[in-house]
Amino acid sequence: MSLLTDSPVHSSSSDDFAAFLDAELNSNSSASSPVEEDGDDEDESNDEEAEDDNELEGKSVKRCKVEMSANIHEHGSTSHTTLEHKIGKDKSLKIDICTHPGSFGDMCILCGQRLEEESGVTFGYIHKGLRLANDEIVRLRNTDMKNLLRHKKLYLVLDLDHTLLNSTLLAHLTPEEEEYLKSQTDSLQDGSRVNLFKLDFIHMMTKLRPFVHTFLKEASEMFDMYIYTMGDRPYALEMARLLDPNKEYFHAKVISRDDGTQRHQKGLDVVLGQESAVLILDDTENAWTKHKDNLILMERYHYFKSSCRQFGYNCKSLLELGKDENEPGGALASVLKALKQVHSMFFDELGGDLAGRDVRQVLKVVRKEVLKGCKIVFSRVFPTRYQAADHHLWKMAEQLGATCNTELDPSVTHVISTDVGTEKSRWAVKEKKFLVNPQWIEAVNFLWRKLPEENYPVKPTKEE
């Protein structure tokens, strides 16, 4: 019972008309060299050119006829077949020559030919219908890299959720949170003042992380920045609008899960930057399995209760407490400092050819400075019979520049323990070494500096 199809009936004469024009103009474009207007070309020696000219003359006559009468059927079928023959030959020629570096609307961006099979990588975040072949991506990366290095810039890929901001569905706000928000309605009128936005049309509330505006402004002077989120495209664009209302940073560089090439994975294949020049900020390590060396892991920003719950924390949310992350000492400010160090080391301190430098190596070096000179022994942190050196905290400490040991000796500076009663913990107290809980090392890793040890005491276990 549907009236979906108002089936159009096409008059056959106009179909032929379109086909005819296509054929006509096709053959015209295949004469790649511009043909002079004057028909009486004296240079008879060049046969090809003379032929072209004749053809053009013949065509313009035909076109006049088209304009004069709508009835195209009168044209001899012979001229049609020869034209088509010619086009066919041209096409096969082009297949040999053109490598089809990419496509727009399924047509080759170089030869205009319709491409049947989908190959290469889609770049829908730049423009709908755009795809690029792998060779072309490599070529673009190379030229872009030179351009970027000339401007003393590198690439920075930024995650949204828990990295730059925190969002919740309006329906997931707790009563306490709603209560608090009600008391703040005045400041909420202009969300940009408190960086808290109620987005009714997508049923969400978004809180930008403290310091994010300063972060983006300063980072944009050192990096060409992309957003890369597992959220969908409309959400990603809305967040980009909040973060970058003047479209200074992320124009055509917002990548959403709709643009990725692999599910539940983020990849640098859709980023037009060389891997040796890209840094990534993300709170989810597992999303970047292929690019761990480019990654700066971020401490998760949980502003809303629903976000805490999602990760299994049952504490009060920052919103419920009416608090927020500290600006100058918070995650973004700390990471910005590290980024500045990496940037200046990459451009100013490293010798040799710019193009041969690798920001991943620089990142490693900068990270190794953080706990340089520390000698760490772990106590009751790893399960027994666990290969200590395989544990992620052990690795983390080493990446931060500390040396790790299984045995105590006078050169040890820190004992990381979960229990004050262990032999090693007691030794630390006796020898006046630092005794800290494992969170110390994780916090140091997030904030890129040695944190006051006294803030991470090892609490006595309940039995004792």
Binding site: M1, L3, D6, S7, P8, V9, H10, S11, S14, D15, F17, A18, L21, D22, L25, N26, N28, S29, P34, P101, G102, F104, G105, D106, M107, C108, I109, L110, C111, G112, Q113, R114, F123, I126, H127, K128, G129, L130, L132, L140, T143, D144, N147, L148, H151, D224, E248, A252, L272
Partner: protein, 176 residues
Amino acid sequence: MFFHIVLERNMQLHPRHFGRNLREHLVSKLMKDVEGTCSGRHGFVVAITGVDSIGKGLIRDGTGFVTFPVKYQCVVFRPFKGEILEAVVTMVNKMGFFAEAGPVQIFVSNHLIPDDMEFQSGDMPNYTTSDGSVKIQKDSEVRLKIIGTRVDATEIFCIGTIKDDFLGVINDPTAV
């Protein structure tokens, strides 16, 4: 290229419209249904300019809807391979630039931008000749040649080139 052509379409009309204003209803429905749409054969329907004839209606069994064959004149726009088109630049990046001519979306790859024009990144990305005399950026008007077209139900895509004589910028927005 614009054409003024005659097309035919079978229109279904709900019985509630059967009355004195039947013809008006048919025409307004036709305009709503057809204007602004694309067809692979004819391109983008810009406007209906007249209705030539409305044939005898055929009652559909069971629904009471009636199908009328309608012959109408309209202006259509369809780009052709080899055609020279003027378009407005909408986006410039390292891959080339995108431009629009009415409903037509055109991509000109940097392969098909003259070699002496180089990409400049920044707030207003552009392609500029080494002497700075010619610049293509967002909102520039360009003359280009179509080398490939694809007409969908809703969109028209084209591949263009400006790597030929007399093609390129025809109006520089910054020069005004």
